[in-house]
């Protein structure tokens, strides 16, 4: 038996989905299809494009800097995902204990998220260059400096956000299971690894998904902090695509092709990660 409200929804849903759907089509579906089409074209402005087949993909794959950017990004993503999630989880469990000022700390840790990437990049550039000046260097001295600079920035920005998600997860943990474990004499580590973490898997799934995709897609912080310098050695994939697209005439299509390749890679990684972590989810 469908209720009155349910009946109305089943008749009217299409109308109410319409605004969001139109936005989705305009903001995502059309650009996406147009993007795939453009990756098969030679063009200077998107208004006049000529079909040239898969040449752009050949140009994209044969660019050594693209491969460098891919590995550099993969490494960056792995490092930041691990650091961000471990730290966020640790801080979250700290701040769900009864300590004074927990709410204040939560707000403070969350704050870096409210600052835009470009601003953050420039601020960190000043800070890091100020410190490195002590040794007569700057953040763009080598790709390695840039890498750790970006890791630092990313962690500083993301830990607070992930922490909030973990706090929400920790607060919904069923107290009885943990109590039962402590009655049975489980140690702190045992409780953490056998009770808390398995129960927290939904939050972990969300957080790892977010940090992996954030890592792969990072652009503005990279642009502001190092802009790929020196010699494009601190360039993440998103910046590489941007530079290919805008860097020189005739390479817009190659940049577009790189973007499509990049999309496929990120989608595959995200799906794989979701499968892996979701499989570990349990219910109390």
């Amino acid at each position: 038996m469908i209720s009155m409200a349910g009946k109305t929804i089943s008749r009217w849903w299409a109308l109410f989905v319409l605004p969001t759907f139109v936005a989705f089509v305009i903001g995502f579906v059309i650009p996406f299809i147009l993007g795939i089409w453009l990756s098969l074209c030679r063009f200077t402005t998107i208004a006049d494009a000529n079909f040239i087949g898969t040449k752009n993909y050949a140009a994209a794959i044969s660019d050594p800097e693209f491969w460098h950017a891919l590995w550099y990004t993969a490494l960056f993503t792995v490092v930041t995902t691990v650091i961000v999630n471990v730290c966020a989880f640790a801080i979250a469990s700290l701040l769900t204990k009864a300590i004074r000022g927990a709410n204040l700390f939560r707000s403070i840790f969350f704050m870096p998220n409210l600052i835009g990437g470009i601003v953050l990049g420039y601020i960190w550039m000043l800070l890091l260059n100020g410190v490195l000046q002590h040794w007569g260097k700057s953040i763009t001295f080598s790709g390695t400096y840039g890498f750790w600079g970006m890791v630092l920035l990313m962690c500083w920005q993301q830990i607070g956000y992930m922490m909030i998600i973990y706090i929400a997860g920790l607060q919904t943990l069923p107290g009885d299971v943990i109590e039962a474990a402590s009655v049975d004499g489980a140690s702190g580590a045992q409780t953490l690894f056998h009770i808390t973490i398995p129960l927290m898997m939904p939050s972990i799934t969300v957080c790892t998904f977010l940090s992996i995709t954030n890592g792969f897609k990072m652009f503005d912080q990279n642009l502001a902090l190092t802009n790929g310098a020196p010699s494009n050695s601190s360039e993440l994939v998103a910046l590489n695509i941007y530079r290919t697209f805008y860097g020189r005439a005739g390479f817009e299509g190659a940049g577009q092709a790189k973007a499509v390749i990049f999309f496929v890679i990120v989608a595959l990684v995200a799906i794989l990660q979701n499968r892996l972590t979701a499989r570990k989810e349990v219910t109390a």
Binding site: F16, P19, I26, T44, G136, K137, A229, Y246, A249, E252
Partner: protein
Amino acid sequence: MNTVRKTTAVIAAAVLTMGVLSGCGGTGASSSSQGRVYYMNQKGENNEQFVQLGKLFTKDTGIPFDITTASPGNYEQTLKSELAKTNAPTLIGLDNNDFPNWVDYCDDLSGTRMYKDLQNRDYVLKDGDTVKAIPFVLDRYGIIYNRAILKKYFAADWASIHSEQEVRGFDALKKMVEEIQAHKSDLGIKGAFTSAGFEASSRPRYGDMLPHIPVFYEYRDQNTTVIPSKVSGKYVPNLKKIFDLMIKNETVAPTQLSGATLDDAISEFALGDAAFIEMGSWAYPQLRGKKVSDKDMGVFPLYMGIPGEENSGLTISSNYFAINSKASQKDKDATKKFLDWMLDNDGARKIVTDTMGFETPFKSYAKAGFKTKNPILRANDVYAKRNCYDLVIRPLPTAQWALTMADAMLEYAQGTGPWSKVESSFVDGWTSEYNTVHKS
């Protein structure tokens, strides 16, 4: 009742959808029966003056004038997205390096008054025989110096050079720079040269402006003004000489160059902390009114030990106007009207010459006595009097070539890469860039 509810729902949904779409609209296009001028400005330092110029134009003619200026280093990106819009720019600012990318968007300008008004038609940019872009400003660059500091140096008993006139080639320049650096505390400065920064804003000074000198001589040796498919690299050792001189005698340690900006260098010079800066006349608006007075600004050509360079003057570069070939006829006409107006109107000529400080290549300006007082441009008068030849900037294969050069030079400067990488970027980079873009 039901119809009322239905109607309300439909309207609500429609309104919401409109709200979503409102973000997609373009800028309110000012439609005018006389067409419009939309200028895509490449000279960021003159943005305000162009706005002023546009206001005056609209006041005089009633034709709307819009302008967009890109942030530094983002010109081509901005131009690319602006050109894809319905209300695309009608007037485009270009330089030598960007020109090949936009040839297809440049209208034939050979019939315009501005073209006929040029004092020297050799400097226009052409595609085959078609005139595609006209220079509207002549810039000069070289090694700008602070005359007050040099006077102190000339007077010192340890100085081996005693006047500006003695500096007529690389050897004298080198001796002077090194002595100034060695006695920087006696002179009360932080270094002979300002920082040779490689941050994006400053990078073109080394990857682009400096290599243009050896490139000029390559063109001369090959007896061409059209971009050659190969360069010999004969003058790369000379490039090394001047670059070494700059990075060894500057205000900061070479390992910090990757983060040093153009603003850093300009303020070092403007505040009298350094005697020399490699820069051009377009920096004058930022230099004037600070510690270095106009009469204390002089410029040496970029000497690098090339035979015959004692007869060279300052490097000359231009910025060009092109009319968007895809604009409507009405807008093209309005834009041409703007160009004519710029040539004839006294108010416009005053803004261009005095406020912008531009040296213009037009007969009408010269005839009416409009001549800029920009000391960096006037510095060339000394060389012109001596009949020195201009170092003209010739087309580079791509903007990417200059970026790769800058990368290799930075690595060399901070000690993380060999000079041979600069050589190969110059010679092999030229061939490969030429083949990628020009050979098709």
